[in-house]
């Protein structure tokens, strides 16, 4: 039995369609993966700001290693963790372009810890989209620096034992302490309201860059249905119930010029 669609109303106006800066093709991400939402939000923001054709994106090593395939603007591939350094090299020689990195929790908070902190400390005029899903996706579900205590992963099979495997790292809080940072916030992608807030944050982050205010990062609590062993809907609920308490949403550093901004 094929589903019968309801009657199509007459006189329709377009409310929303896929952003221009997204290439018109399917992605390799798992069904329900919030990478897709994050990519879409970045594309929407760059479209709305008219910046897409001045943008250079830096892809990480992780599930988003092919991120550059999905955007219509220029892109490069960084070594694992080194995207902020690569972005620094690019932005310093091309200061009038929009340069952003897109990094997961292994890339940014593990191997790339030095590079992210120093890029923020230097106040590099780059924007970082940090996808925090408490696990290593691409390599099959190992523990990440952001994995929660007692969380089961393939390298913490009995659950993360804080006595031997330490505690999760809250990156937004850490980077907010650096004077070079202009905009450091944490948002979540677990429902429509939060996704809308995340988009506003991404907008302000790029504003921080183009207004030459400093380093910007939006940490986005995200899902990994496949490696968490859940359905996409269950994974969204897991973020709401487990990650949001551990990683409080909010604005950790917003320079005055951005506070006044209405976008």
């Amino acid at each position: 039995m094929t589903v019968a669609a309801p009657t199509k109303p007459k006189n329709l106006k377009l409310i929303y369609q896929r952003p221009e800066s997204l290439v018109d093709s399917a992605t390799h991400y798992c069904p329900g993966c919030t990478h897709g939402i994050a990519h879409r939000l970045v594309a929407e923001v760059l479209d709305e700001m008219g910046l897409s054709d001045k943008t250079i994106g830096i892809a990480p090593v992780g599930c988003a290693v092919l991120a550059y395939e999905y955007f219509t603007f220029d892109g490069v591939e960084a070594a694992h963790g080194r995207a902020p350094a690569m972005a620094t090299g690019i932005k310093r020689v091309l200061p009038d372009r929009v340069v952003f990195t897109y990094q997961g929790d292994g890339d940014l908070a593990s191997i790339g810890m030095a590079e992210i902190i120093h890029a923020a400390a230097r106040g590099e005029r780059i924007t970082v989209i940090f996808i925090n899903n408490a696990i290593y996706g691409m390599t099959g579900g190992q523990m990440a620096p952001t994995t929660l205590p007692h969380q089961v992963t393939t390298s913490s099979p009995r659950g993360r034992d804080v006595a031997t495997q330490g505690f999760p790292i809250r990156m937004a809080e850490i980077l907010a302490n650096l004077d070079g940072a202009a905009y450091i916030v944490r948002r979540s992608l677990h429902d429509a309201t939060n996704i809308r807030k995340a988009k506003k944050a991404i907008r302000l982050a790029f504003e921080a860059q183009v207004r030459d205010l400093g380093f910007s990062m939006v940490e986005l609590l995200s899902t990994c249905p496949t490696n968490w062993g859940m359905s996409p809907v269950e994974a969204m609920e897991w973020v709401r119930d487990n990650m949001v308490p551990a990683y409080p949403l909010g604005d950790y550093k917003v320079v005055p010029e951005l506070q006044k901004l209405r976008v």
Binding site: E77, A79, V93
Partner: protein, 371 residues
């Protein structure tokens, strides 16, 4: 042509500026920190980019980023830094973007010391990073030659879209010699057609070293091999001294080659028919020239400031056609001309045989000296 007395590190930095380098990213490490310091002063004066990175790992990745935009970019470091940079170097080569890396070599392995050595030969010439790629490696033996090679390095890097190392022994970086600096070249504003620049009005460009499908990766790998064969055909560099009628050939690069030259001159003055072959491109290695010398010479003496790294390449090129003996100082020790002269004398008086282990005599000699 005015000449200035300049420290090698400073001269190399200034030479790079005159060659139109647009961005320098580096990290302090002895014995090259003066290069970084000079850049920190001069690059902002010229309106160019200077940044001291948080580590060599970060530095090479900044270089990688800038290289992707088509900018002329370099870094400098010493052995431990090259080790840290290895992944980044492989990425730069795999992405086929140009970069110049200066290695001012110190004693090693490990932390070693800050005295000069040639212990990085094998690493930069044969092991700079993972995968099939081919850096060009140039080795100066004087501050002037270092200045000249820096300019060539950028041109070669861009011509062949590869990594070019200028490997200077710590002594070259530290010593002061009279130098003629080249005329400044203007910054080349036009970017190559592959450069990622975020420019409106053209289709998207992507630069990556990721080729998930093996069929695609193999195409890249083969392209790098083909390009390397062009480099081998066109970019071999070496210097020859007193070789026309030489029965014995001393071989050395960089400072070892320079010290050996003094010894060769002294030997000539004593009537020995000996010459010097000094590779300037360590990679591509002047194998053909070595092979030809192997047909004519009675013996080779390879002199290095390591345990015999270029020796392996000489042996491979000589294909067993000539007896070879080795003399080396390690750990930051610099050989003196009289040591090398003694070895030349021994070469003449007690020539090696084809089946002699090139290192045997040297090790026995060093053992005696150490005890």
């Amino acid at each position: 042509m005015t000449r200035e007395l300049m420290k090698g590190n400073v001269a190399m930095a200034e030479a790079a500026i005159r060659a139109g380098v647009e961005a320098y990213f580096g990290y302090p490490i002895t014995p090259q920190s003066e290069l970084l310091e000079w850049m920190s002063k001069r690059m902002p004066e010229e309106g160019r980019v200077f940044l001291q990175a948080e580590s060599e790992v970060a530095a090479i990745n900044m270089v990688y980023g800038a290289a992707c935009t088509g900018a002329r970019v370099m870094t400098s470091t010493s052995g431990p830094g090259i080790s840290l940079m290895a992944e980044g170097i492989s990425y730069i080569a795999g992405t086929e973007v140009p970069a110049v890396i200066v290695d001012v070599v110190r004693g090693g392995p490990g932390l070693g010391n800050i005295a000069p050595s040639q212990g990085d030969y094998r690493q930069v010439a044969h092991g700079a990073g993972h995968g099939d790629f081919f850096p060009i490696v140039l080795a100066p033996s004087s501050v002037q030659e270092a200045v000249d090679l820096i300019g060539e390095a950028f041109d070669l890097a861009e011509k062949y879209r590869t990594v070019v190392f200028v490997v200077a022994d710590g002594s070259i970086g530290q010593m002061m010699e009279p130098v003629s600096l080249p005329e400044p070249r203007p910054i080349r504003r036009e970017r190559p057609e592959w450069a990622v620049t975020g420019t409106p009005g053209r289709s998207r460009r992507i630069l990556t070293s990721l080729y998930l499908k093996p069929e695609d990766e193999e195409i890249v790998n083969l392209r790098l091999v083909q390009r390397w064969r062009e480099v081998e055909a066109n970019e071999i560099r070496y210097r020859e001294y007193y070789l026309d009628d030489a029965d014995y050939v001393v071989m050395g690069f960089g400072t070892a080659g320079r010290v050996a030259l003094s010894a060769v001159r002294a030997a000539r003055a004593q009537g020995m028919r000996v010459g010097l072959f000094r590779p300037v491109s360590l990679r591509p290695f002047p194998a053909q020239a070595v092979r030809e010398l192997a047909q004519k010479a009675k013996a080779f003496l390879v002199v290095e400031m390591n345990g015999g790294q270029m020796l392996d390449d000489v042996q491979a090129a000589a294909q067993g056609q000539v007896p070879i003996r080795f003399y080396g100082r390690m750990g930051g020790m610099v050989p003196f001309p009289d040591e090398v002269l003694d070895e030349i004398q021994a070469l003449v008086d007690e020539p090696p045989t084809l089946d002699e282990d090139p290192r045997a005599r040297w090790l026995a000699h060093m053992q005696r000296r150490m005890s």
